[in-house]
């Protein structure tokens, strides 16, 4: 598994992206991340809930209770308009970051 401290700074964006696609709940998000990355990156659930708290406090996402499933009511998250704007901004920022890092990481060997 990849070192997670490099990804760590982008967890907010990753999770916002997943919630942007459709409203999701915690376990679904952690599963989705594992599937999409072929298990090369797995988010610790504890980290996930910390991100939820942070994003909700910043009003980038909001939560509501969904239907009852095994084990109780699922808590779903949806992205807010502010969240969408924030995500767009981080995407633009990432493009620039990528270009800068590539300047130094590419072309070796």
């Amino acid at each position: 598994m990849i070192r997670s401290d490099i990804i760590r700074g982008h967890l907010d964006s990753i999770i916002l992206r997943l919630i942007l696609e459709k409203d999701r709940y915690g376990y679904e998000i952690s599963k989705e991340i594992s599937t999409r990355t072929d298990n090369r990156f797995q988010i610790k659930e504890a980290t996930l809930y910390a991100v939820f708290q942070r994003l909700e406090k910043k009003e980038l996402i909001e939560s509501y209770f969904g239907k009852v499933s095994k084990g109780g009511k699922r808590k779903y998250y949806r992205i807010t308009t502010l969240g969408k704007a924030y995500l767009k901004e981080t995407v633009a920022e990432w493009e620039i970051t990528k270009e800068i890092i590539d300047l130094f990481m590419e072309g070796l060997n």
Binding site: A46, Y49, K57, G72
Partner: protein
């Protein structure tokens, strides 16, 4: 599932009670249970599934921070202590000065106890400096 519940309780033990805490705990429980069911559907035994869910969950240090546990910053009292020592020694010294000039004005002896007392604010001064 009892074991799962116990584990979650244990994780959140030192988080101060709040509505937010209860909401998060409930959410965590719900998602963990769902994960356990999912793992069991994939053919794991219940014991196995629960253990995996617990291990995958990880450390909740970050989450605690979000829930507002601040490691209590040790308050710096050194400046206050210095102030106290200055005022205290001034009082003691003026007492000596008063006794000296009131009862034995022909011999100046108050400087000796003054030197002794001055060690107090001096010590406090350097403690304050070190803490900065």
């Amino acid at each position: 599932m009892r074991k799962l519940n116990n584990h979650v309780q244990e994780l959140f033990r030192d988080v101060p009670e709040s509505e937010q805490k209860n909401a998060v705990m409930q959410e965590v429980m719900q998602n963990l249970e769902e994960k356990v069911w999912d793992l069991m559907e994939q053919g794991k035994g219940e014991e196995d599934a629960i253990n995996k869910a617990i291990v995958d969950f990880g450390d909740i240090g970050d989450l605690k921070k979000e829930l507002g546990i601040k490691t209590p910053a040790k308050k710096d009292h050194t400046k206050l202590n210095l102030g106290y020592s200055v005022w205290g020694s001034l009082l003691i010294i003026s007492l000596f000065v008063f006794i000296n000039f009131y009862y034995t004005p022909e011999i100046i002896w108050f400087v000796y106890p003054t030197f002794a007392v001055l060690w107090w604010p001096l010590t406090m001064y350097f403690k304050w400096q070190r803490s900065k």
